[in-house]
Amino acid sequence: MSASSATVSSSPRPSQRSRRRWRISLADIAQLVAILLLAVFILVPIYWMASTSLKTGNQTFAIPPVFIFEPTFEHYREVFAEGVVTKGLRNSLIVATGSTLLALLLGTPAAYAMARFDFRGKASLWFWIISNRFISPIVVALPFFLLARDFSLLDTHLVLILTYLTFNIPLVIWLCIDQFRAIPREIDQAALVDGANQWEALRTIVLPLAIPGIVVAAILCFVFSWNEFLFALVLTRAEAKTAPVEAANFMTGFGIRWGAMMATGTLIVLPVVVFAAIVSRHLVRGLTMGAVK
């Protein structure tokens, strides 16, 4: 009895479901339009930057705006020939890579210790590290400027690398604690039993297993360092200027070179957007220091 009723009730379902799949209601169309509008809202500014970097001056100022045109790479040639932006990009690369590597070097052992050991004051240490996320850069920028001047570190890569550690170390520690906790303790205990010390266990056993989390931390550090502006603006003059500072310089002076400016913007944004898309699932975790997973 029950078996027959089950077959009776289940047999119409698939057909019903498939029929529903092909019938599009008004609400579905409204949703489709809303999603498309959202996508347009997100993409238009980025598309407009990229397309303007490929337009001639007349096309840039055209009203109505030109959407379809023959691209020219003139602005990119111009930007590369001048070398200022290229140098800025190189400085950004040096600073972001340097700060990321240093943050990983200092942060991963600390994260490992906090994931594996109990000690007095651990909670306070943890809270203090998290609270660095909330400090306004301008608060640190003023004393950093004076200190860097006294140590004649202004306009060097080193001062920016160190400054960026203020947000990179907390980020690495937070993300890696999470990662290390996900690795069973038994694995490093096995290594300890085999005669390794804690450092060897970390280096040879745990770190290789933690690579996914460490890569995410590294990418986020790189993205945040690459995008940083305030510190770079006040701590550099000429030699160590990063790409965002060079880009902002397009706004000063007489007659804005829109094409070159947008080419620069595209060059700056391209690597971070690619990186962020790779770690898109972890971006929110990085931005909220793990409060949202």
Binding site: D28, Q31, I35, L36, L38, I42, V44, P45, W48, M49, F61, I63, P65, L106, P109, A110, A113, M114, F119, K122, L125, W126, I130, N132, F134, I135, S136, I138, V139, V140, A141, L142, P143, F145, L146, L147, L165, T166, I169, R181, N197, F229, L230, L233, V245, A247, A248, M261, G265, I268, V272, F275, A276, S280, L283, V284, L287, T288, A291, V292
Partner: protein, 316 residues
């Protein structure tokens, strides 16, 4: 010693080689300390020492452009100046206005976007859009400002052209002091609405489909299901967003610096932009430090609230 090493039982080796009383102290495991110390020392040097340096500077007369004045102690004079400075207060109240113009809108729209993308039947499209949401968050804020300069341009900007299509006459979005605040709020919303949406989506996906199914038996009204079933799952994430966005608005500098430099006049002069100007245009480090310390107190309150709410129990 070499005989002891050949001993097949390592435990016996330890007790034989080490007289208990002499070795007890070094046996305390220093490894965690050695692992944490470098990071903490660096963080103290770059994160705490500068704050004390700023605290010290805030009690000094420190005009970088007038070195002949020296740096005499002036007590609380800088704080008095800061607290009586109408520009400092107005920059704070503008920051508050900016907060009201952005965060509530971003939270409401962010939740709406999350509901749309998680509930829609256009799965593939919503999947693609979910990845697109990452783009504004990752875009360098300085470049966002530059794009704004282009898009909001009164004469050839895309924005005015699009508004013209629906019959709205051109507005000087960056040059008109009443429009400029709305312009930077819109720009901030472009960049951070996706963040709220992603947070809300992770909250919504944590609601088990069974619960939704069960609540469908009670009511067919989507609004009721949202309010009584889904919203409780969203609240922790949205609270996190609220605090983080508040802190980020206190930090906000780059996008505004490029887009309006706080202008026209002081129309978009938010607090970070103002303090930066006092410090690095006027070069009054004493006053700027006092303002920064006041700002730091505010940041700290936010940090403490965040920690209380989200990391109450620390899992070891």
């Amino acid at each position: 010693m070499s005989e002891a090493h050949r001993d097949p039982t390592p435990a016996a080796d330890l007790t034989l080689a080490r007289p208990a009383w002499r070795w007890r102290r070094p046996r305390v495991d220093r490894t965690p300390v050695l692992m944490i110390a470098p990071a903490v020392i660096v963080l103290v040097l770059i994160g705490v020492y500068p704050l004390f340096y700023a605290l010290r500077t805030s009690f000094q007369l420190y005009q970088v452009t007038k070195p002949y004045l020296g740096t005499p102690w002036v007590g609380f004079a800088n704080y008095a100046t800061a607290l009586q400075d109408p520009l400092f207060w107005s920059s704070l109240s503008r920051t508050g206005l900016f907060f009201l113009l952005t965060v509530p809108v971003q939270i409401v729209l962010g939740v709406a976007v999350a509901l749309l993308l998680t509930s829609t039947r256009w799965r593939r499209l919503s999947g693609i859009t979910r990845v697109l949401l990452v783009l504004p968050i990752a875009t360098t804020p300085t470049v966002v400002g530059l794009i704004g300069r282009l898009v909001y341009n009164r004469d050839f900007g895309l924005f005015n052209w699009a508004l013209g299509l629906i019959g709205i006459p051109p507005v000087n979005w960056l040059g008109d002091s009443s429009a400029a605040m709305a312009t930077i709020a819109l720009t901030d919303t472009w960049q951070w609405l996706p963040f709220v949406a992603l947070v809300a989506m992770s909250g919504l996906t944590s609601v088990s489909p069974d619960i939704i199914e069960a609540s469908r038996l009670e009511t067919n009204r989507a609004l009721e299901i949202f309010w009584y079933v889904q919203l409780p799952y969203l609240l922790p994430g949205l609270t996190a967003v609220l605090i983080i966005r508040t802190a980020d608005i206190l930090k906000l500098f780059d996008m505004i610096f490029v887009l309006t430099r706080g202008g026209p006049g002081v129309a978009t002069d938010l607090v970070s932009v103002y303090v930066q100007r006092v410090g690095f245009r006027v070069f009054d480090m004493g006053l700027a430090s006092a303002q920064a310390i006041l700002l730091l107190v505010l940041c700290n309150v936010l940090a403490q609230t965040y920690i209380r709410l989200f990391y109450r129990e620390i899992e070891a």
